[in-house]
Amino acid sequence: MYAFYAITLTALCTFFTRSFPFLLLSRLNKVPSIVTFLGQVLPPAITAIFVVFCFRDSFDYFHSSGLSGYYKEIAAICGILLVHKIKNNDVLSVFTGTAIYVILSN
């Protein structure tokens, strides 16, 4: 039952974020400059925050084996950086990083 509430809540919130401009702009005439400013500045910062968020669980290793415990993540990140630099293809880079991590995990 909790799952139902969780999924419904997430769906409603997501739909709200997508429809928000359409609700708002039909009433306002111009967008306040602070909104434009945050609109330019927040997305890159939020993406950086998400990357940290994705690694939130892996910091447990540090206490046991130090930096060498991170070989999977480091290898995968290096793979992504390399492939993205060379080919500049989003799908390929994601696939490479995931493949490296999965291969090292199994």
Binding site: T17, P21, L25, P43, T47, V102
Partner: protein, 244 residues
């Protein structure tokens, strides 16, 4: 059917397919990973079907898995969804003029405005095209095909995970990979590198202070405070200079 004066050699579906195919493939494989992750966490086909259908947002649907296993956090989940998907506000803002003219597809277009669909629409439309019914249909099919790829991938991945002994440990890393690639793209495209760096630093501080599950909201709030503070200082300095 409205007969246009120009002969239409490509149907809207075909046009949408050719435009969206790379995104569809990417979304499909990402959602195979999602289906597998769901299966690893113990969730079956019902979840694999309903989540991409009703939520249709890759990033939050991955994070949702953690919240499904870790109950009683509805408020955090709601706020987290609002913040993580806040970028969608800017999608609607950018496409407002375009979408407000849709008559029959409007609700679905607003619902299905995910990252990939937004990118495809903004990179391919021209001002003259936007008012034509044919283009509206094309973009509708585009959005729909993208979502279809997500649902299909999710279901197939989940079936692979639950029905067979096929297990792919570490597949959740796909979400991390997506964010890293997005970060690289953002970093390269932005003139001011500071927001990315500030976001990363504040993110790490927030992680240390608040722990994994609760770090995102304080981090985003912290970034907003820092940025508004910086901007206020900039404006004050600008005002001082213009008075001297």
């Amino acid at each position: 059917m409205i007969q246009t004066s120009l002969p239409q050699s490509n149907s809207p579906i075909k046009k949408a397919l050719t435009k969206a195919l790379p995104a569809m493939i990417g979304l499909f494989f990402l959602h195979i990973a999602y289906g597998l992750t769901l299966a690893n966490a113990g969730f079956g086909i019902l979840y694999a079907l309903t989540i991409p259908t009703f939520i249709f947002s890759g990033s939050i649907s991955f994070i949702l898995i953690d919240f499904l296993t870790d109950a009683d956090q509805l408020l955090s989940l709601g706020l987290l969804t609002l913040f993580i998907n806040s970028r969608h506000i800017f999608y609607g803002l950018s496409l407002y003029d375009h979408i407000k003219d849709y008559k029959q597809f409007k609700p679905y277009m607003i619902f299905a405005l995910c990252d990939e669909t937004f990118t495809l629409i903004t990179s391919s439309s021209s001002k003259e095209e936007t008012l034509q019914f044919e283009t509206q249909k094309t973009f509708f099919y585009l959005a729909f095909l993208n979502q279809l790829s997500c649902v299909a991938g999710s279901v197939i991945g989940n079936l692979l995970g639950t029905q067979s002994t096929f297990s792919l440990r570490g597949i959740e890393f796909s979400l991390t990979a997506i964010f890293i690639v997005a970060l690289l793209n953002n970093y390269r495209q932005s003139q001011n590198k500071r927001p990315t760096i500030i976001g990363g630093l504040i993110g790490i501080i927030s992680l240390l202070l608040f722990g994994g599950t609760h770090m995102v909201l304080p981090a985003i709030t912290g970034v907003m405070i820092v940025q508004v503070f910086q901007r206020t200082i900039q404006i004050r300095r600008h005002r001082k200079l213009s008075f001297t």
